[in-house]
């Protein structure tokens, strides 16, 4: 069983060794991560796959700086969250990490463009330039002016997820973490979303870590990390890597 396969691409963006995480104490303690070893390189799309409760979401939360690990080593984009204080971690997330959530989590009162512009606005950008930049990104994911000015309730699930993707890309992050990005989408929408993500990862020399249960999208992965019981059980090249020459993978 291969437990720590590394791709032959750019420099290491994420490097974790023996990462553990336990929720609760005493009898109620649940060990979500039991020593995770993982390395992800830039330009790579890694999918985390495994049964429910195996620690996938906990792992991406640790990678995104949303959760503190209990033990082990982990550097993300050459930063160790444990050596950063709260505000530093928040600033790091603001500048370097994009999120795509399972249920999109678009703010209902904001238009698609405003929702997608949030990372820029959090970063202190002025509203007008932020919206202009966002419109450009939304166009690349197939949005027209009318859709950009629509409220999330007026958009289909696939369109909402595309807004969420635009939101995760708009501030040019180096790492994007996605939690079940296609679980609420039909097959066609799911493929479109993953093609976008794949394009982003390959073209922009960035890192994507995608948690999924959706077998239909595994074909987009560079590598697939199988998790079981809080550990990476195996890492294998995805169909994408298998199809391209090693020097490009």
């Amino acid at each position: 069983m291969e437990t720590h396969a590394e791709p032959a691409t750019g420099p290491t963006a994420i490097s974790c060794h023996g990462v553990t995480k336990t929720y609760g104490v005493g009898n109620a303690a649940v060990q979500a991560l039991r020593g995770v070893d993982l390395a992800v390189r830039t330009g790579e799309l890694l999918m985390l796959v495994g049964p429910s409760g195996c620690g996938k979401t906990t792992l991406i939360s640790v990678l995104a700086g949303l959760l503190h690990r209990d033990a082990g080593e982990c550097t993300v984009l050459a930063h160790d969250y444990e050596k950063m204080d709260g505000p530093e971690t928040t600033r790091f997330r603001k500048e370097n990490i994009g999120f795509v959530f399972q249920s999109f989590d678009l703010i209902p009162a904001l238009t698609a463009a405003e929702n997608a512009a949030i990372p820029l606005l959090i970063g202190g950008a002025k509203r007008r330039p932020a919206l202009d930049k966002t419109r450009t990104i939304l166009k690349t994911v197939g949005f027209d002016e009318r859709m950009m000015n629509s409220l999330p309730a007026d958009l289909s699930g696939g369109q909402q997820q595309r807004v969420a993707i635009a939101r995760s890309l708009v501030h040019n992050p180096k790492l994007i973490v996605c939690d079940e990005p296609t679980s609420a989408l039909d097959s066609q929408s799911g493929r479109m979303v993953m093609e976008l993500m794949r394009e982003f990862a390959r073209g922009q020399d960035r890192v994507l870590v995608v948690v999924t249960h959706d077998d239909r999208i595994l074909e987009f992965a560079d590598r697939i990390a199988w998790m079981e019981d809080g550990r990476i059980a195996k890492v294998e090249n995805g169909p994408v890597r298998a199809k391209v020459p090693a020097t490009q993978s």
Binding site: A32, S61, A64, L66, P87, R91, R93, I97, A109, P119
Partner: protein, 397 residues
Amino acid sequence: MILIALKMLLGDRTKYVGLLFGITFTSFLVTFAASYFGGMMTRSFALIADNPGTDVWVMDPAVVAIDRPINLPTSALSRVRSVEGVRSAVPLAVAQADARFPNGHFQSFQVIGVDDATLTGVPLMKAGATADVLRASGAVIVDGGGTSGKMETPSLVSDQWPSGQPHLDVPTRPLIVGDELLIDDTRVQVAGESMALPRFPPRPLLFTTYSTAERILLPERRRLTFVLATAAPDVDARALAARIEKATHLRARSSADFKEDTVRWMIVNSEDVGDAVTMLSIAMLVGFGVTGVMMFMFTSDNLKYYAVLSAMGASTRLLLTMILAQAALCALIGTGLGLGLCAVAGRLFTMYDFPYRMMWFAPTVGGAAVVLVSVGAAAFSMRPVLKMQPASFLTGR
């Protein structure tokens, strides 16, 4: 992000309306209570305000408010007139008397006896009449003084001054010029009706000359209540009051100071002030309850989005600023609505002669209450945001 926060708030109509209701209610009730209090206080010194030409009020040293008079010896008038800087000084008698109406009813009046010569102290008259009507023997001027229906006389002449039993339950009409009343069995005739400022507490007023007052009131060794002094040109009223006090050992207060004394006394002693404070407290509590709960519910309902924003790098400070901005918008609009409602209610109240006066402090107190309630509600609803872990939203723990 402030705009985002406001759009989030405006997007949730139900809670937004609930928040506005809470803050509008607070703003309205607090401002209204303060205005009602202002109206009561203004009416408490109505006798002073009815004498705008008086610079200094001279009284017994023990007097602390206009409604707590102690009479002076008649010599006080001459002593005040002798003080340098006094241009004129006139007597004013204030007393209570029960007047008998022609059908046999009794009604308590505040009798105000003004200087026979100058008639200083008579307010503006209705129907273009002048205070000179008092120069007739036994003439009185009547005024509702903030009451209604208390100066009624029988409509039919046959019901007036009946022999035998009084005609208490006969049809009545308001007093008019020419009607007669009995005060201590002395007949007086209504010579006019004035437009004095309403009193607090409300009471019917009866103006007459000082000499008539001496004649119709129960005999007392001292009848003089106040000496109303005017200052010579270029003499400051407050300085003149100090000079009169020094020369006569009586208490002398400028009109402005005497008003303040009266208000202060009312605040300390009047039970109505307690009622106003109770009203204020209830308004604040209900306002805080409604606003706090609505704000808390709004923030809790949006906690998921705050967690998303936090995950995307929004600092705690930014999130709290967003919540404060939402509270500030509600506070601003709610205050405006509350003040507007208060103005409308005040208009209705003054039409029915209730004590209502929106002075400068009323909207200030209302605004302060709204700030307190809004900040309190915001602080209350910040708690879940401060305790929120963005990861728990992802992991479901």
